[in-house]
């Protein structure tokens, strides 16, 4: 795998940007003029007044942190998975130890009730 093999990826990236850009500029060109009254954010007809960007429930932050931990562990499992058939029992033991740390972490956060949604 050489760096030049990523050229098609770049072209597809350009394609994706082109599609998005085309739609955006099309709506810029053709849309009717905007009117000021409609600029209020939608709140089911109630007049807005309270600040919009309020604080989130702590659960969202907890979920984000849990995700980072588990996703990184996931990224480490993929290389072991690719070579597992060549590594045989040794690979299996390594993988088992690694998965054990994940299960242990999951059990811990479960016990700490971090998975509950309050």
């Amino acid at each position: 795998m050489e760096l030049s093999d990523y050229l098609p990826i770049l072209i597809f990236f350009a394609g994706g940007l082109l599609v998005g850009g085309a739609i955006l500029s099309l709506s810029k060109i053709v849309r009717p003029r905007r009117t000021l009254v409609k600029e209020l954010p939608y709140e089911s007809g109630i007049l807005g007044g309270t600040p919009v960007r309020q604080r989130f429930s702590i659960d969202f932050y907890l979920t984000a942190m849990l995700f980072i931990v588990f996703d990184i562990e996931l990224a480490f499992i993929y290389p072991i998975a690719v070579t597992l058939r060549d590594d045989g029992v040794l690979g299996l033991v390594v993988l088992a130890v690694f998965v054990f740390t994940i299960v242990e972490a999951l059990a811990y956060v479960w016990k700490k009730r971090a998975l509950e949604w309050r």
Binding site: G16, L24, V52, F70, D71, A75
Partner: protein, 332 residues
């Protein structure tokens, strides 16, 4: 490998694939509306053109001429950037989906895949990660309480199910010994479809896929009845269409990924590979629509706990069982 392809060939391939993808989006949307109509004992759209098949065009024309405004208090730059990110991530993801072996044209063997990356699976996950930003920024930049709640929910839901989905396909990677989608399809052509070896993995993948694409019964980020469409409440006209496009293209991509990982991808007898892949994608898309027509929406705490307490342990179990069987029984 794609190293010796000419620049022109790649560009032509990209244009054709993206064009087909966008058309597939339009007709997936139409078929969904028709099918949902049938599920609810009505006809669905059938007036525009022959049997309603011009409906997508009519929708686009309508959306083009919609007033396109930015709400007061919105961050204008991010408000425009967000749908752009969503569309970009969704469309670019098609690059690594293989849709056939090779095509003999102009005296050259052209591999029918945008780019055969040796990290294809990771590439898809990375792009879906970028796609989240579109939804989150869109909700945040709108300056609307519903949108902000919608995008916070989206973020939490997507990351929760991303982990389960990532783990559910590790079994496939172990069997195929590769992260390249082309290799995974070829490995299935030599043996059988991996759904036979990985039934549990496929099931977890499907459930996570429904949640990843914000589809019913996991469509809480845009729950109409409580959040008024969630992150795209304030979006109208073509910018709304862009979020829609991204959502449906993501559905198609994730169906293609499921078909490639578990159902043999483009492999199949008699018919050409593209047709097989299209059939498998269509079956999975039908499943998505069927689920939407059948199941009621979950409650948010149920949704989060299901992801972490049911899917994640199940996926880990599936991973361990597969690892033991392969490590002991199927060594090279």
């Amino acid at each position: 490998m794609t190293g010796d392809e000419t620049f022109l060939v790649i560009v032509v391939k990209a244009v054709v694939v993206i064009f087909v993808l966008i058309s597939a989006f339009a007709y997936t949307l139409l078929w969904e509306r028709k099918l949902i109509g049938r599920f609810q004992a009505r006809y669905g759209p059938n007036r525009t053109g022959l049997h309603g098949y011009m409906q997508p065009l009519a929708d686009v024309v309508k959306l083009i001429f919609k007033e396109d405004f930015v709400p007061r208090g919105a961050n204008r730059f991010l408000f425009h950037l967000a749908p752009m990110i969503s569309v970009f991530a969704a469309v670019a993801a098609v690059a690594v989906i293989p849709f056939g072996t090779t095509l003999n044209a102009f005296g050259e063997e052209i591999p029918l895949v945008g780019a055969d990356l040796n990290v294809g699976v990771l590439f898809l996950f990375a792009l879906s990660g970028i796609g989240f930003y579109g939804l989150i920024l869109g909700g945040w930049a709108s300056g609307n309480k519903y949108s902000l709640l919608g995008s916070a929910r989206t973020a939490a839901q997507l990351v929760s199910y991303e982990v389960a989905m990532g783990l559910s396909i590790v079994g496939v990677i172990m069997l195929a010994q590769s992260l390249s989608l082309v290799d995974i399809v070829n490995a299935q052509r030599d043996t059988v479809w991996y759904i036979l070896f990985q039934p549990l993995g496929f099931l977890i993948f499907l459930v996570a896929a429904v949640a990843e694409t914000n589809r019913a019964p996991f469509d809480l980020p845009e729950a109409e009845s409580e959040l008024v469409a969630g992150y795209h409440t304030e979006y109208g006209g073509l910018k709304f269409a862009m979020f829609f496009l991204a959502e449906y293209v993501n559905m198609i991509i994730i169906s293609a990924l499921g078909a490639t990982l578990f159902l043999g991808g483009f492999a199949g007898p008699v018919l050409p590979g593209v047709v097989w892949l299209a059939i498998k994608i269509a079956v999975l898309l039908f499943l998505f629509i069927w689920l939407r027509a059948t199941l009621p929406r979950l409650r948010y705490d149920q949704l989060m706990q299901f992801g972490w307490k049911v899917l994640l342990p199940l996926a880990t179990l599936n991973l361990l069982i597969t690892a033991v069987i392969i490590g002991v029984g199927f060594q090279n």
